[in-house]
């Protein structure tokens, strides 16, 4: 009984400190970066995080710089749309950073995500490191997990966890006219505390 209580308390403490999702867990009160080229499964990763947070009945915010979020496929991936605040910035990075700043400082969200996935690298690199530190500071000592999604890691010195994704191959099923996209085989490299772990995973279509 005591062991069960200790285990339960440990689980509770762990859930306060991190947000588990199907392929791992992300730290709360810190910045996590998801990086990868197009079609590497990075948006699937982000949506699985949003789905995990919304499954815990937490509110999430998605600041969508290029207006690329598709509610239909996100809903199929398990994201509870009624708990998601979607901010469409129409390509304006400055607006996105301001919105992210206000939302992180407002508090109360389980996950705040900044989607720079389709923002050209040249523009994304213009974000000053101070802006990333300010965002990180806003979520420090809170239960909010801050996630950024981009083509490359933007703030390596600021993020606690970096997930770098690359697509190994595309899995098609069937031949000819009946063929359909079954999924991606990707390699996810988790870099945490200067330790790099690579795992091969399959994302279903």
């Amino acid at each position: 009984m005591v062991a069960a209580t200790v285990q339960c308390a440990s689980d509770l403490k762990r859930s306060f400190e991190s947000l588990p999702f199907p392929w791992g867990e992300i730290p709360r009160g810190a910045l996590t970066e998801i990086a990868g080229p197009s079609s590497s499964g990075r948006t699937a990763f982000l949506c699985s995080m949003l789905a995990a947070a919304s499954a815990k009945q937490e509110f999430c915010a998605l600041i969508d710089v290029q207006d690329a979020f598709d509610p239909t496929s996100a809903s199929h991936a398990g994201v509870a749309l009624s708990q998601l605040l979607w901010v469409r910035c129409g390509g304006n990075l400055e607006h996105a950073l301001k919105a992210a700043d206000w939302l992180t400082h407002g508090g109360g969200f389980g996950l705040v995500a900044l989607d720079l996935g389709d923002t050209p690298l040249k523009i994304a690199h213009r974000i000053p490191l101070a802006a990333w530190f300010r965002l990180r500071q806003a979520v420090e000592n809170t239960k909010t997990a801050l996630v950024s999604l981009a083509q490359r890691v933007q703030a390596p010195s600021c993020s606690m966890l970096k997930i770098e994704l690359s697509r190994d191959r595309t899995i098609w099923r069937g031949v000819g006219p009946g063929r359909f996209l079954q999924g991606f085989a990707v390699t996810a490299a988790h870099v945490k505390n200067h330790r790099r772990h690579e795992v091969a995973i399959t994302i279903d279509g």
Partner: protein, 413 residues
């Protein structure tokens, strides 16, 4: 003591008459009022004299009844013509001949009474309470007490419609926003204090500004939850007026807060925290001001097969839990990117010509045909393919079958 007035189709006249005698009036549309007449004995004398005075005052043929409780007075006024004074402890005897339909009640109750052969108040009043309780429950006991004239209650006094508004006429027109906000702050403080004293909150703030030689400027804040913080309202008004400032000097300010019941909420011990509504509303107002009102909210899918159909709604806080199934999602290009596609003889896409240049399509899957809304003006008819482009990614493309143009809809990621 209570008096009741009954005259078919003359409720306003009856209310006007009742207002001469008491501020405590209960209206029972369509044709009856009841009011409190305690204290009138000193002015008019006995209950019969009071009833006579009321009958003279009303000026039209009306039934007047006086009884020790409102329901007995109401039933007597509805069922007995002319002036009736129901003496205390003789309510049951006075009401006994009245037909049972005056009690009202559900159709089931009326049917049961009909089956039992009960037609009048007196017949119902004669039934044993324990038997009625066993067969008809709480409703039966209530009707039994009404039939006996024993039911005591307070009058449901009609309330004045409370309005929480304030107007301010200015000697000199105000051109700048800061002094205007200073005036609004004072008005908000006062109205919120009045709301607080009535244990109410608001979910809508309306401002109208009469302008110097310009049309009236109006703004309305609709809040997702009832609030009562003048500082929050002031901040929201500031953001609203910053976005859409008045076009001329303000001569008169009208401010109205729509009253609603206050928000009561029981937080669960193990429920995760959520954004504080007041702070969230200010944050959302700021973001709306920045990116546009239509670009912030919670997406809700529409009941249609049309691609990319959704509407932006409020983040209403309804917590739902969906089984998460991690899978590839689509990143959309809004608007879809126009491209040219070269196909083989059997219609398979093999090359794509986009603004980035020409690329070879290594694998393709499709076609999937979708169409809809042909019965309305905004129909769509398209052929969709999933394609893999070497060193680029996996895309969803579609051809508009009416215009024969190709578009990249998005990328799978």
């Amino acid at each position: 003591m209570f008096a009741a007035l009954h005259a078919p189709g003359n409720l306003p006249l009856l209310v006007e008459c009742a207002e001469h005698y008491s501020p405590l009036i209960e209206e029972l549309p369509p044709d009856t009022v009841a009011f409190d007449i305690r204290g009138l004995r000193l002015i008019f004398g006995s209950p019969r004299e009071i009833a006579g005075e009321i009958h003279r005052r009303v000026g039209i043929p009306a039934n007047v009844a006086i009884a020790s409780n409102p329901d007995a007075a109401l039933h007597a006024a509805r069922g007995i013509a002319g002036i009736t004074v129901v003496d205390p402890h003789r309510e049951a005897a006075t009401l006994a001949p009245l037909p049972l339909y005056l009690l009202g009640g559900s159709p089931e109750f009326a049917h049961t009474m009909d089956l039992w052969g009960i037609r009048t108040f007196g017949e119902l009043a004669a039934l044993p309470p324990l038997g009625v309780a066993a067969r008809l429950g709480e409703e039966g006991i209530r009707f039994l007490r009404l039939a006996r004239g024993e039911q005591t209650r307070l009058l449901r006094v009609r309330g004045e419609q409370l309005r929480f508004n304030e107007e301010l006429e200015l000697e000199n027109p105000v051109d700048l926003l800061e002094p205007l906000l200073l005036l609004l702050a004072g008005m908000l403080e006062r109205i919120c204090a009045r709301l607080r004293s009535h244990a109410l909150a608001t979910n809508e703030v309306r401002v109208s500004l009469n302008l110097e030689r310009a049309p009236e400027h109006s703004a309305a804040l609709r809040l997702p939850v009832p609030m009562l913080d003048p500082k929050v309202f002031l901040k929201l008004l500031q953001l609203e007026l910053n976005g859409w400032p008045p076009q001329a000097g303000v001569e008169k300010i009208r401010l109205e807060l729509v009253p609603v019941e206050t928000r009561t909420m029981q937080h669960g011990l193990f429920l995760p925290s959520s954004p504080e509504p007041e702070r969230l509303e200010i944050t959302l107002a700021r973001i709306r001001h920045l990116v546009g009102a239509n670009n912030v909210g919670s997406p809700a899918l529409l009941d249609t097969n049309r691609p990319d159909s959704f509407r932006m709604g409020e983040l209403n806080g309804s917590r739902e839990s969906i089984a998460a199934t991690p899978r590839i999602v689509l990143r959309r290009f809004r608007p879809p990117c126009a491209v040219q596609i070269r196909c083989t003889g059997d219609g398979q896409p093999v090359r794509i010509f986009s603004p980035k240049g020409e690329r070879r399509i290594t694998t393709s899957a499709g076609p999937w045909f979708t169409s809809g809304d042909w019965w309305t003006g905004g129909s769509w008819n398209r052929e969709e393919w999933d394609i893999e482009v070497l060193e680029e990614g996996i895309f969803r493309i579609h051809q508009d079958r009416d215009s024969k143009r190709w578009f990249i809809e998005g990328t799978y990621d």
